[in-house]
Symmetry: C2
Subunit: 341 residues, 2 copies
């Protein structure tokens, strides 16, 4: 038994002997409607089980009250924190959030972007895929004046608000910490340099070495896509090329983990023989043995900030063309893997 019948504002209007316009305005809390009629309308709407037809409204107003979020993987702690931050702010402002993951693939990202676009989201928040090096699918939005906010993995050549963590600073302090622990030969397993975040982490590493008067050795830097297996390969290569390494700074925790596992497997002790640090503070980092020192990014805050900037743009479609790049502070989390005993 299904009642397929949907009551519309016209039904309410008819019942109350008023016009649909008034019903519409009352339901939208338009102050032009008197309190008395508003009450009456609200009540009978309730009684009649009225549910606004969002589609009709969106169609008419060209606003969907929806914001699209594209992340590489919802499964990463950092990204899901950001998403929670976004949701919090968005829901509070009456926006619906639709989340999609690119799986770090360009194709998928482009397809999602097109879908969101034709579905007329009011704005999007995105952290681009590792593979993405070309941005026509995002320029779509700028072209149609649809607000877009980048976070974490941002794109230089597109003008938009950008929320990033202080990757440079985080990496700088990681490296500085390792140096303070007595490390002299610090290797770096970095990410793909087309992504600014990895470029910055690497730059922070380089700068810290420089400030400490340690000469940079390019054979101690390996860049890959920071997956588990690649971390294992990287640490092997590093050791082969340079077996005096006494510390490794990995651009993410996954790589730090696989390095640790490999190092343990060949009999090296962490942190006694080699110090290891990661980046991003994945949940496992706290609980593995040894626990992994890392850098905490304020994901939730970044998400909140991204959402509020986006919503600000959506609501005041003002001419305010000053795009901000907000750098959020990171925290060094010192655990067992980096403290010399």
């Amino acid at each position: 038994m299904t009642d397929r019948f949907e009551t519309t504002i016209h039904d309410i209007a008819r019942k109350l002997n008023i016009s649909a316009s008034t019903v519409s305005r009352a339901l939208n809390n338009n102050p032009i409607i008197s309190e008395a009629t508003r009450q009456k309308i609200r009540q009978t709407a309730e009684e009649m089980g009225y549910r606004p037809n969002t589609l009709a409204a969106s169609f008419r107003t060209k606003r969907t009250n929806t914001i699209g979020v594209i992340v590489p993987l919802i499964n990463r702690h950092f990204f899901s924190s950001v998403i929670s931050g976004i949701e919090e702010v968005a829901y509070k402002s009456g926006f619906t959030v639709t989340i999609s993951q690119s799986n770090d693939q360009f194709e998928k990202e482009a397809k999602i972007a097109h879908t969101l676009f034709t579905n007329r989201v009011d704005g999007i928040i995105i952290s681009i895929a590792m593979e993405t090096r070309q941005f026509d699918h995002l320029k779509l939005f700028s072209a149609k004046n649809i607000p877009l906010v980048f976070f974490d993995r941002v794109v230089d050549e597109i003008d938009a608000h950008k929320i990033v963590a202080d990757d440079f600073g985080g990496a700088y302090f990681v490296t500085k910490h390792l140096i303070e622990q007595g490390a002299k030969q610090i290797a770096h397993i970095g990410g793909p340099l087309n992504l600014k975040i990895y470029e910055n982490r690497q730059a922070g590493y380089v700068k810290a070495l420089e400030d400490a008067g340690i000469k940079l050795n390019h054979s101690m830097i390996i860049n890959n896509t920071l997956r588990r297996e690649e971390g294992t390969e990287a640490i092997q290569t590093l050791l082969k090329d340079n077996n005096t390494i006494d510390a490794v700074f990995c651009a993410n925790d996954t790589t730090a983990l696989s390095s640790i596992i490999y190092l343990k497997s060949i009999g090296k002790k962490i942190p006694e023989d080699i110090l290891v640090m990661g980046f991003s503070n994945e949940p496992f980092s706290e609980v593995v043995t040894p626990s992994i020192s890392t850098v905490q990014q304020p994901g939730f805050l970044m998400g909140q900030k991204a959402a509020s900037l986006l919503i600000e743009q959506i609501t005041n479609k003002s001419e305010n063309h000053e795009f901000l790049t907000i750098v959020m502070p990171t925290d060094l989390i010192i655990r067992e893997s980096s403290v010399r005993k």
Copy 2:
């Protein structure tokens, strides 16, 4: 410079001196339109940069081609696997997926459900929140004949397709394995019993004990919401009440982890002194020390199955009222924490 102008099917029609109906049909590959005109229309649509107005179409057809997914937390490995499975199937069939998380809160879940409902999703896939004990927000969908598929945490009193993992079997084999390892006093840290999955896991545990002729000791079962801190409390209580425990089966990996951490902290050795097993195979379980034996659920497959059942219902809005409950097999993953040395 933004071009706010959107070309519609009417623009195309005018340019080609045909009717909008024909354009609409051609663009939808309606076979009633001749190949020649279809080609012509497609081409000028392309040239004019036509983008269909999904909102208008959805409004008219009352189909949004969107399916809503509600999970407790996108951050859990199991759930994100399911989501990936859903996405795969959905995208292939031209559906958009919108994901939301309830954070295991009833309020949030209800709010999301209402939002999805008024946004006229074509169907929803849900695993309910721990807190959820009342289902009016879901009955909404049945009432309006909107297909709904449950997975993992299903609801008995609502008729719908249900995809679950073999929790009973998984738990049974966990317990059997522990018994085979020589355990005699096997404790259980279970989840809230309003959720069928935890009831089933507990039932599997009980049955395995029974089959092995081991008498059930109710003081060796503790139910909570399986969070980290609660695991710690639970294992403390268990030990206090019964310090001859030689194995613990935890209904999730988080609790298994915190048990292990606590046990290690008081000088117990895992697995030598106490065997520990979890459930769900979180990523950390493989990498902690000792690595945690657990049960692997086929998340991706469950997601695929859920999505295809849902889409089937959406497209053939047939009368096929036989609702399936599909039980997917689980795999025992034996690691260090449960193998007596």
